[in-house]
């Protein structure tokens, strides 16, 4: 009987409006932690860093004791005698030495696993992925031991086939190679995993059709796999570029703060770290960080352009 009577308005209404309130604002409350944290640990620091790039400041002098210097920090970084250019060159060189072989090996490796060894794919990708999740400091130390001039395993292996000891960490031209090998080792498996997940999206029918038409495995790789894998390649290349341009841990551990003999493994990230935390020149280092950001942006754009140029035809 009571159900038929119109409900009294006031007490349920308060409940109802609270429900409405929490329903309406729940999504804002649930997403607010990100924005609060980003404000404090993201947006504010970004703005502060941009501000500092135009100032001279030692953090020990305390807040407020900075001096406006205009574009001087940027001019200093881009001026000829400064280390920034050298570090940028080192970074790109190590990046190429490790990045190019990474993809040249990972692509065919993923193709082979996907085509012929699919049954063992889980086990193989687990093994290949292991280097990627391993601690960079720990593994760089192990590689450093392999490189040891007189007693290292690498030189021992070379001596077995009659080759003289190579001074992996002493010859300035070789240090970037030694560092790049570690980076290469760490990230090949990661790229294989990326390419495998891209390959799995390619329908089996395409390959079957090609088989019927008498295509060889090599032909399938170049005419089916590569074109269809373009989006994943773009993504993987972007990750390699962005990651390699910020390379820090491997050269830092392998060669110490200065980048080894001749400073050939001093990457931009290391240089920026040194200027900020050794020389305590926050303005100058911030300016260089923004320049490096710009370099990363430009390289990503070039990568983007190269991929979109050919992509229009399909």
């Amino acid at each position: 009987m009571q159900e038929c009577v119109p409900l009294p308005t006031s007490p349920p209404r308060r409940r109802w409006s609270y429900d409405r309130f929490q329903q309406r604002f729940a999504p804002y409350i649930f997403t607010s932690p990100f924005f609060i944290l980003f404000l404090i640990f993201g947006l504010f620091p970004l703005g502060f860093s941009l501000f500092l790039a135009f100032h001279l400041w030692n953090p020990l002098d305390g807040l407020g004791n900075w001096r406006y210097v205009g574009w001087e920090n940027f001019q200093l970084a881009l001026g000829a005698p400064d280390q920034f250019w050298v570090s940028l060159k080192n970074t790109v060189w190590i990046g190429l030495l490790s990045g190019v072989p990474q993809h040249l090996v990972a692509l065919p490796l993923a193709f082979v696993i996907n085509q012929a060894l699919r049954r063992y794919q889980g086990a193989i990708s687990t093994i290949l992925f292991l280097p990627y999740i391993t601690n960079a400091v720990a593994i760089t130390i192990v590689f450093g031991m392999l490189y040891s001039e007189n007693l290292g395993l690498l030189n021992y292996a070379l001596s077995v086939v009659g080759l003289g000891p190579v001074r992996w960490l002493a010859v300035p031209d070789l240090v970037p190679v030694s560092v790049a090998v570690v980076v290469f080792w760490r990230y090949v498996g990661w790229n294989v995993i990326l390419y495998l997940s891209g390959l799995q999206a390619i329908s089996e029918d395409v390959y079957e059709a090609a088989t019927v038409d008498g295509a060889s495995n090599v032909q399938k790789f170049f005419y089916i796999t590569l074109p269809l894998l373009r989006p994943m390649m773009f993504y993987a290349f972007t990750l390699t570029i962005v990651g390699n341009m910020q390379l820090f841990e491997e050269p830092f551990i392998m060669t110490g703060q200065g980048g080894g003999s001749g400073g050939t493994a001093l990457t931009s990230a290391m240089h920026i770290y040194n200027v900020a935390f050794r020389d305590l020149d926050m303005g100058y280092s911030s300016a260089m960080a923004w320049l490096l950001f710009l370099a990363i942006f430009v390289l990503s754009m070039i990568n983007n352009y190269l991929f979109s140029r050919g992509g229009g035809r399909s």
Partner: protein, 301 residues
């Protein structure tokens, strides 16, 4: 092929047998290629375990020792000495930061991901788009100003907080959660719970959380591993006392970098193993979660 056209319509119904013989020639070559790749991936791990059991003077030797020795306990003691008996404390520091980081990330990211996936609210697209855009900021640009915020404003330098608080609600985690919830949970489920009188937060804790366990495992493992391996952050935030160090920092200290000839290699290798073992254990049990979590950023479309 031309002699069998009559058979094909019949054979079409069951799955055609795989032509295994097709690869016979090249198959050995493929196995060698993949085998070498796997071998090279594993060798450094094998070596670090072997070396950790060898006495310091036998770690570097010609010809090299490639089989386990019996100096495990000795190296363990040396490691404790080299770290002023703080090695286990440092292990705990790493564990503490990684655990807090993981728990808070899981909570805040799944909560935000749930909101973006299940609610329609004003400005949703812009807010979500903004979160995605923040993923494009290279971490390197944040290093210096983050240090300054911690050092000059918050006075947090040297504390574990510097490492787990800023990333509690991060863009990658929110994105991952949102994608999963959109595809895995129907909106009707939420509405049903609402009709049953559940509050919005109650829906999250009682309906959503139990249903998104797989993706929680994924994000959890990825966050834990990332935090465990964080060297640069700890370096910049100066967790530099023996008692506040994380393992990667301590590792660098006892070697003084890989090129330091004076390091005690037995102690160093023991510490390398101590740093790597938890990762190996996690990976052994959750490799699928890690792999799917890290590649899921790649399969946006």
């Amino acid at each position: 092929m031309t002699t069998q056209p009559l058979e094909t319509p019949i054979a079409a119904a069951p799955r055609p047998p795989r032509q295994k013989s097709r690869f016979n020639g090249g198959r050995v070559g493929l196995w060698v290629f993949v085998g070498i790749a796997c071998f090279l991936s594993l060798v450094p791990f094998y070596l670090m375990f072997v070396w950790a059991t060898l006495p310091s003077e036998k770690i570097f030797a010609v010809p090299p020792n490639l089989w386990f020795g019996n100096a495990f306990v000795e190296n363990l003691q040396k490691m404790m000495e080299a770290t002023n008996n703080m090695a286990l404390r440092q292990f705990w520091n790493s564990l503490y930061i990684a655990t807090l980081s993981t728990v808070t990330t899981l909570f805040f990211c799944s909560l935000a991901g749930f909101a973006f996936a299940m609610y329609d609210f004003k400005g949703k697209q812009y807010l979500f788009g903004f979160i995605l855009i923040t993923m494009l900021i290279p971490p390197l640009v944040m290093d210096i100003p983050s240090f300054l915020v911690m050092n000059n404003f918050l006075k947090w330098i040297g504390t574990p907080r510097t490492l787990w608080v800023p990333g509690m609600a991060n863009a990658f985690g929110i994105f991952l959660m949102r994608q999963y919830i959109v595809s895995a949970l129907p909106k009707s489920l939420i509405e049903a719970a609402r009709l049953d009188g559940a509050s919005e937060f109650g829906i999250y804790t009682r309906v959503v959380l139990p249903l998104i366990r797989p993706i929680l495992a994924t994000l959890g493992v990825v966050t834990f591993v990332g935090s465990w391996n964080n060297f640069k952050g700890a370096l910049i935030m100066r967790l530099s006392e023996d008692s506040t160090m994380t393992l990667p920092l301590s590792l660098r200290k006892i070697t003084g970098g890989a090129s330091n000839v004076n390091a005690d290699w037995g102690a160093t290798l023991m510490m390398v193993v101590l740093t790597v073992i938890p990762l190996l254990i996690i990976f052994l049990f959750a490799s699928r979660q890690v792999i799917s979590g890290l590649t899921s950023g790649a399969v946006k479309d």
